[in-house]
């Protein structure tokens, strides 16, 4: 299977800090790929390069085999890559529907003319469909985000990522379960599994190996900016992954069938 995303030799410096040092990463269609590593390993930097927030100092990115250069998050979104950042980037004072459509509000049409007036009822109906599709239980979609639980917020953020005008190819999630309790974590993991059955490819960052082993197909580990391993979840153990994370053990790149 050809990867949808292929990153090779990615280097990124911040002043004197080498955040990424020749990192390789392949993402296969339909997989849930986990990115692990200690604090400061370079995980967030890698996905920000993939989403166009940062430009790499060296290395190349291919999407469907085509060499691409991202310069803004808008560009990557046009290619169907959606990112859910750790802070979720929701407007807490707005309700779920307004957040779902933030920046892509449905508007009233007058003949063939689109007016700058919100089509509230259309957005409401489409929101219910989207939440249905991602199986997020939000008791009242008119309630403000401020009053919602962490899991519901994550659900709204995922819903927004999926509510894209372009068909979604890759959903990137930065620590989707970090702020959640046990029950909510399992709901979000269920949601990830469910999205996978719908054919959505997912790259998730997590510090929690329980979660990683519960949903991922493959795992890539970074250690202080260096790639240490890419392994199939089914063929490894938590102990082994930990040793890749701390750098006690590394794979040889040529041994990996990415």
């Amino acid at each position: 299977m050809d990867p949808i995303i292929s990153m090779r030799g990615i280097v990124k410096h911040f002043g004197g800090v080498t955040a990424l040092d020749h990192v390789d990463l392949d993402i296969l269609p339909g997989e849930v790929h986990a990115l692990v590593g200690d604090n400061g390993a370079g995980k967030s930097t890698l996905i920000k390069i993939l989403s166009g927030v940062y430009t790499p100092d060296a290395g190349e990115i291919r999407v469907d085999g085509q060499l691409v250069k991202f310069s803004s998050p808008r560009q990557t979104r046009r290619l169907g890559i959606e990112v859910i950042y750790q802070d979720l980037a929701l407007v807490e004072d707005f309700d779920a529907v307004s957040n779902l459509f933030l920046g892509k509000e449905r508007r009233i049409m007058l003949g063939s003319q689109t007016l700058p007036i919100l089509n509230q009822s259309l957005m409401y109906r489409q929101a219910l469909q989207i939440f249905e599709r991602v199986r997020i239980k939000i008791p009242n979609v008119r309630q403000r985000i401020f009053y919602m639980s962490g899991g519901q917020r994550q659900g709204v953020a995922i819903g927004r990522a999926l509510n894209s005008d372009n068909p979604i190819r890759l959903l990137i999630m930065d620590e989707p379960t970090a702020a959640l309790g046990v029950e909510e974590t399992s709901k979000v993991l269920d949601l990830i599994r469910h999205l996978k059955t719908q054919g959505v490819t997912i790259l998730m960052i997590s510090h929690n190996l329980e979660d990683v082993f519960a949903v991922s197909d493959r795992i890539t580990a970074l250690k202080t900016g260096r790639w240490t391993a890419t392994v199939r979840t089914a063929e490894t153990t938590k102990e082994e992954v930990v040793s890749y994370i701390v750098g006690a053990k590394t794979q040889r790149p040529e041994s990996v069938n990415f």
């Binding site: 980037a89 407007v91 004072d93 933030l102 919100l118």
Partner: protein, 327 residues
């Protein structure tokens, strides 16, 4: 405040705060109105009521503009100076340069709108904080006004210049009230049902999130201040007509009164939540308190003190309620 909350039943206070936000303000309006009519026979006289609603119209219109600024997590401290500057400019246009009244009013409103837009542009593009730009604006526009008009008093305007502040339909319904109501309906529509209102609220509610989805922060920052400038222009026209005389010392203290009207009306001082209707109710409350003190013969400085306290309480209650519910 917080100490008291710990000692007395805090749930009651939370409920009180929420009730206040939902509609308590309208109840308070009725109570103050009833109270004033009982306390003073002068309150319900035609002349006093007309004086009252004209004042509501001026403060209310400025405060509606302020609502858009605050919705975008800004604050416009320059409103009083901009109103004074615009009123004086209008006066000199008709009196000194004999520009036709209709054109004068149009020019005045356009100039005021541009001043607001410039404030917004400076805040957005140069990244100077809202407070700094509009505090500077408070000084600068007042400074220009004194520079150009010094101690001059320009008075006696023609019917069109006086229309907004002086005309009464059927000899009782002031034109200013009609203007306020029209402005309120349009502003409510913009805030609730258009992209413009939604995006101003979005940049105020969470700038990062709104920029992430591609909302242009600078554009909506600028537009929110332009709306405030526009409102100041209209208010200047009403003020000119009401007083039939303008001078440099006009419209002092409007910044505090408009901000107070906005937060009393239930909008969040921290952006993201705004109610135009609430703002008008807030303006009505402020105007009634002022009116009551005036006809009651109370030392007018009490007005400033009460207004200050009201402002702090209106910000403290919802902020505190939020902290409590977030737990």
């Amino acid at each position: 405040m917080t100490v008291r909350v710990g000692i007395y039943s805090s749930d009651l206070l939370v409920r009180g705060a929420r009730l206040w936000q939902r509609g308590g303000i309208y109840l308070a309006l009725v109570l103050i109105g009833l109270g004033l009519s009982f306390l003073s026979p002068m309150f319900l006289t035609r002349l006093n009521l007309i004086e009252l609603v004209n004042y509501v119209a001026i403060i209310g219109i400025v405060a509606i503009g302020q609502t858009f600024v605050i919705a975008g997590r800004g604050i416009d401290l320059s409103v009083g100076s901009v109103v004074a500057f615009t009123a004086c400019i209008m006066a000199t246009f008709v009196k000194d340069y004999s520009i036709p009244p209709v054109l004068t009013v149009l020019l005045g409103v356009v100039i005021a709108t541009c001043i607001g837009a410039v404030h917004g542009f400076l805040i957005g593009r140069l990244g100077v904080p809202d407070l700094v730009v509009t505090l500077a604006g408070l000084e600068v526009w007042r400074g220009f006004t004194y520079l150009l008009f010094e101690e001059r008093v320009i008075s006696r305007f023609d019917p069109f210049m006086r229309f907004a502040g002086n005309y009464r339909f059927n000899d009782w319904l002031p034109a200013a009230v009609i203007i306020l109501l029209v402005f309120m309906v349009i502003a409510t529509g913009i805030m609730k049902y258009t992209l413009l209102g939604r995006y101003i609220l979005a940049i105020g509610g969470n700038r990062k999130a709104s920029e992430y989805v591609g909302i242009n922060y600078y554009r909506y920052k600028t537009l929110s201040y332009a709306i405030s400038g526009f409102a100041c222009g209209i208010a200047a026209w009403i003020l000119l007509g009401r007083l039939n005389a303008v001078q440099s010392s006009l419209a002092v203290g409007y910044e505090l009164q408009s901000v107070a009207a906005v937060v009393i009306g239930g909008s969040s001082l921290f952006g993201g939540v705004a109610s135009v209707m609430g703002t008008v109710a807030g303006a009505l409350m402020i105007a009634m308190i002022r009116n009551g003190l005036l006809i009651g013969g109370v030392n007018f400085y009490w007005y400033m003190i009460i207004l200050g306290i009201l402002l702090v309480v209106s910000v403290a209650l919802p902020a505190w309620e939020r902290r409590k519910e977030a737990r």
